[in-house]
């Protein structure tokens, strides 16, 4: 049985070699197709990693902890108490390995009004801890004038370029922030502009102000409480499992989901997640369509190979090889052809992605001015990222297509009648 299988594989290989030119032509079409698709997917994967990276650093972190109702209510009554913040902090430290953990920090995030001498606009106000956020803050790297916040700051604040423009602010200008405090009354806070940032995302540049968290807490009467706690990880690989573990640990300490909701970024930023998913699905649809076309080439190639060898199949059947084995021989031929091409194509994709374009591809010409994607920022230089899940997915698609494309020719081969076949020229 094993030997019969080996013979089938051996004959399939020799037949492929016998029709070397046709095999190579079919294979090269597939290699090119798969290689390019893989590169495209790698670019997309790279871009997605970047979106996630910036989105997590600008927004909620890889893991966001908030009172479950705060997102909807924006009511400071729905905040995390200082004691729970402490528990959450410990839960994270005890769950993630130190090398995985880049930062854990609380924030006070409220909607409010920013007012200058000339006008007033609605803004998102973030109270942040400069010490904890210094190395991971997305805005810290995007300050184009002045400086980012630093420990010891009190009235200092940073604003987006759009905010500065609309309120006619310069470095050193004053503005007044107004928001509902913990007590329910409108409270105001004076801020001195010490930095202006530009991210490229209009909503952020035109609507975000940050000030030290200590100032915000005092202003809004929050004590040591906060509205959220964010975790920034070194990589996104374990976000889900760490979030689960933290949630578990908090529950063990009696902090249930009705006090702190622990969400991985894809739950905290569902729009971004849906956008990335739609993007990937689109690419895969394209991939399947393209590979489907390639599959036709495989069908053609393998079917020709069968038709040209009608006589041989007849002989084999006459010698006592059953239909199943004859079909298997053809299947093996088609699958080897597809699989080998698939592997080579992936290799080509790898070479393009991680060799030729290792340093990234500048796609700024694609975007014009607007560098935002579902609220996340795009660096115009994308470094291709070949993800394991893509490699596995593409290989499975290639295999499936190889099998599907070989089915018809194989079926055809099993239909060959020995006596008739031996009369034909082929």
């Amino acid at each position: 049985m094993i030997e019969r299988l080996m013979l089938i594989v051996r004959m399939a290989l020799r037949n492929l070699r016998r029709q070397l030119r046709r095999s190579l032509l079919t294979a090269s079409a597939m290699v090119l197709g798969i290689g390019l698709l893989m590169f495209i997917r790698a670019l997309e994967g790279g871009a997605h990693l970047m979106y996630v990276e910036t989105a997590t650093r600008m927004g909620t972190g890889h893991i966001a902890m908030e009172h479950p109702d705060y997102m909807g209510s924006q009511d400071l009554a729905d905040r995390i108490a200082a004691a729970d913040l402490e528990r959450a902090f410990r839960a994270v430290e005890e769950t993630a390995r130190p090398e995985e953990l880049l930062a854990v920090f609380p924030q006070v995030n409220v909607g409010g009004l920013a007012q200058s001498a000339s006008s007033s606009i609605p803004v998102r106000i973030g109270g942040v801890d400069p010490e904890l956020e210094r190395d991971v803050s997305f805005l810290a790297d995007r300050v184009v004038e002045g400086r980012y916040l630093q420990p010891g700051d009190r009235l200092e604040g940073i604003v987006g370029v759009g905010v500065a423009e609309r309120l006619r602010l310069e470095l050193g200008s004053r503005l007044v922030l107004m928001a509902a405090g913990a007590g329910g009354d409108l409270e105001s806070q004076l801020v001195l502009v010490t930095g202006i940032f530009r991210t490229g995302v209009p909503e952020v540049d035109r609507g975000v102000v940050q000030l030290p968290i200590s100032t915000a807490r005092e202003w809004l009467g929050l004590g040591d409480d906060a509205t959220s706690m964010s975790v920034i990880l070194a990589s996104d690989d374990r976000t889900g499992s760490i979030a689960d573990a933290v949630r578990e640990r908090l529950r063990d300490e009696g902090v249930d989901a009705d006090r702190i909701a622990v969400r991985p970024w894809w739950e905290a930023m569902p729009d971004l997640h849906a956008g990335l998913r739609a993007d990937a699905v689109q690419t895969y649809v394209m991939l399947v369509i393209l590979l489907g076309i390639v599959a036709l080439a495989v069908v053609n190639s393998v079917l020709m190979a069968v038709l040209n060898r009608t006589r041989e199949f007849g002989v084999m059947r006459a010698l006592g090889l059953n239909r199943a084995s004859v079909g298997a021989m053809v299947m093996v031929e088609g699958v080897i052809l597809t699989f080998a091409s698939g592997l080579l194509g992936m290799l080509l994709g790898l070479v393009i992605s991680m060799g030729l374009f290792r340093d990234g591809v500048d796609i700024s010409w694609l975007f014009g001015g607007d560098l935002a994607f579902a609220g996340a920022i795009v660096d115009p230089v994308i470094t291709p990222a070949v993800l394991t899940v893509d490699v596995v997915a593409i290989l499975s698609i290639v295999m499936t297509i190889g099998i599907l494309a070989s089915l018809y020719p194989a079926w055809h081969a099993t239909r060959i009648e020995p006596a008739e076949a031996m009369k034909t020229d082929a």
Binding site: E3, R4, E312, V315, M316, A318, L319, G320, R323
Partner: protein, 252 residues
């Protein structure tokens, strides 16, 4: 592997009963085999002769289960071939029957040796045993040293001998040989016939040859002559001399 065929020792090797094979329909129908009823006992050495187009190839194809009869039955080892599933037929061919096809029909991607051992391999004979048998036979029929050549690099006569080797190796119960000596000189065909006679004598292998070759007919102990698809003469032969009726008037 299945056990060898279940026919009893007393059943004849081959039995056909009112066998018909018609190609096409109506006016253009060709009756390639007409009402053939023959019984060939185990261990017989039979030559099937007759002019070109008389139905020899069609008849052996029917016997080997490669074609279905239009009417009538074929029994091999007492088992009705017509009633078998495709799988059972393949198994029957594999276990019991060796074929030499009219155009030797070697598999081009396999070497001479691999071609010859193909059925043995399908039968699951261990590699060393196979190789030993093939080498011995190849030596015997003048193919020594050609084991690793592909058919494309063999002469017609050499290919034919490989095809015969493929059919007789492992001594199947029945060998159906369609013009096995057509391309061979006297010496080469004598060597082949020698091998077959030994198998016939010592292992009781039944042989049915389609042939125009007087040398083959001379060695046969029974000659069946087909004309237009039906049996014209069927006779045992004692002496080495050929009866005059075996020869086709127009052909050699």
């Amino acid at each position: 592997m299945k056990p060898q065929g279940n026919g009893s020792a007393s059943s004849p090797a081959v039995e056909t009963h009112e066998l018909w094979k018609t190609f096409g329909e109506g006016d253009t129908a060709v009756h390639a085999v007409q009402n053939v009823s023959v019984t060939i006992g185990t261990g017989e050495f039979v030559a099937l002769c007759g002019p070109s187009g008389s139905g020899k190839t069609t008849l052996v194809n029917l016997i080997g289960g490669l074609t279905d009869p239009t009417r009538g039955q074929v029994r091999v080892d007492g088992r009705e071939v017509g009633g078998m599933s495709e799988r059972e037929r393949a198994q029957l061919r594999l276990d019991r029957i060796g074929f030499v096809f009219q155009a030797y029909n070697l598999l081009p991607v396999l070497t001479a040796l691999e071609n010859a051992e193909f059925p043995l391999m399908l039968r699951g004979v261990p590699r060393d045993e196979r190789r030993a048998e093939v080498s011995k036979l190849f030596e015997h029929i003048g193919l020594g040293g050609l084991e690793d050549r592909r058919p494309g690099a063999l002469s017609g006569g050499q290919q034919q001998r490989v095809a015969v080797a493929r059919a007789v190796l492992g001594a199947p119960a029945l060998v159906l040989a369609d013009e096995p000596t057509a391309n061979l000189d006297t010496q080469a065909s004598d060597a082949l016939l020698e091998v077959m006679e030994v198998l016939n004598r010592e292992r009781g292998v039944t042989f049915i040859f389609c042939t125009h070759d007087p040398r083959v007919m001379r060695r046969a102990r029974r000659i069946i002559r087909l004309v237009d698809g039906h049996v014209e003469r069927d006779a045992e032969k004692e002496s080495g001399e050929l009866p005059s009726w075996v020869l086709d008037p127009v052909e050699t």
